[in-house]
């Protein structure tokens, strides 16, 4: 395969998955800038081994990079963060104020959980992975996935701010 084909395939892959990966990282970190750093780094690692993973499940590879890197983000941020010359486009069909408020509410609620609980919730309820898949992704037992999910849901249901929002 030519380098041009490889680049084209990879670019399509990034365009198709960047939204999902940035959201996953945002749910894990609670910080949009850091989420974009992690996603960008995950895609870069995927490009480094693109020949090997392209016919498999490259999205799973990036996902795993993001999860693993979440605990070790500091150096990447210092070394690799670069301002982008592109100004983000605005989604015309989204109520920006409402969307920001909804996002902030979710991220504030998730910030009260442990990192493992956040990861389990994001993989289960955002990416729809099974408990077994989550266990493999996080390197923990399915029982731990189950208990972490249960603990996280209990905390969220008891979250006074969330409850008052839902009630109002």
């Amino acid at each position: 395969m030519s380098r041009h084909d490889e680049l084209g395939d990879f670019t399509d892959f990034v365009m198709g998955y960047q939204g999902k990966m940035v959201r996953l990282a945002e749910l894990l970190t609670g910080d949009r800038g850091r989420a974009e750093d992690l996603a960008q780094d995950g895609f870069a690692k995927a490009y480094a081994v693109w020949d090997r993973i392209r016919d498999g499940d490259p999205a799973a590879y990036v996902r795993r990079c993001i999860i693993n890197a979440n605990t070790d983000w500091w150096r990447r941020r210092v070394r690799y963060e670069q301002p982008s010359p592109q100004v983000p486009e605005v989604f015309g069909h989204v109520d920006l104020v409402a969307a920001s408020a909804a996002r902030d509410l979710v991220l504030r609620a998730l910030a009260k959980l442990t990192s493992r609980e956040r990861a389990v919730l994001a993989l289960r309820f955002y990416l729809d992975l099974s408990e077994l898949q989550i266990a493999r992704e996080l390197g923990i037992s399915p029982g731990t996935v189950k208990s972490a999910t249960s603990r996280a849901l209990t905390k969220l249901r008891a979250d006074a701010e969330l409850r008052s929002e839902v009630t109002s």
């Binding site: 680049l7 940035v22 609670g30 949009r32 870069a44 983000w73 990192s115 955002y126 849901l153 969220l156």
Partner: protein
Amino acid sequence: MNTPQPSRACPVDLDYPDPQPPNLDMAAIIGRGRRIRHRRRLTQLGAALAAFVAVGSVVVGGRGFTIRMFPSQSGPAAAPSAAPIDAQVAEDPPANGQLTLISSWPGHWTTVAWVTRRAEVCWATFRTPSQGATQNVECPAWPRSDVPGSGGIAFSALVPDVALAASEFGTAWPVLGLTSPQAVRVVLTAFGKDITANVVPVPITAGKTVGVFLAWIRAPGHSFSSTDVTSEVAYDQSGHVIAHVNNPP
């Protein structure tokens, strides 16, 4: 505003509308991917040479290896065994059977670290149940490749992690880091102020240790990021600088 609707059993909607589209830099991704490829080729070559040289020491180091799972908490650095994190620690137990106390400040908080059998460094911080139990565990926090050896004299993982974003101290943020075991203290500079942290030796195996430190950094606002720390310096027992990293703002 849009109230988050329950998504299946989850009380919050994680698929909320995105107020801003992702803004990834494709050129940076490709450039970094190419650098990783290049470095990996060099590393593979180096690893082959190193493995050839290291075979003898691995054989010697393998003799008399024992694992104890929290049986004794000898020394002043041992943490209580009845920690609320035991269940999570059990998944990645310390290679030497011990958790090492990194800090018991502020009151009711305990922070411990340990090295797993895979030579990864983990840490956990938790508050006593009487104060409303809560915990945060990162394991592994640093992979084996980031752990400095006993002969190393440089930071390996710099200032790698931030925990407990919602601190009861308002704007104080805990920062954990790894450094050479020869270091006894580390000075971080953030917001124009120096913060000193003692370095605690955490056992790896066979008498080797890695230095772990915890610093609390007080941020003027309600946010804190890596770029707020502009310098990290590690000192040895004699007060000599053995590692110095600048992170220009």
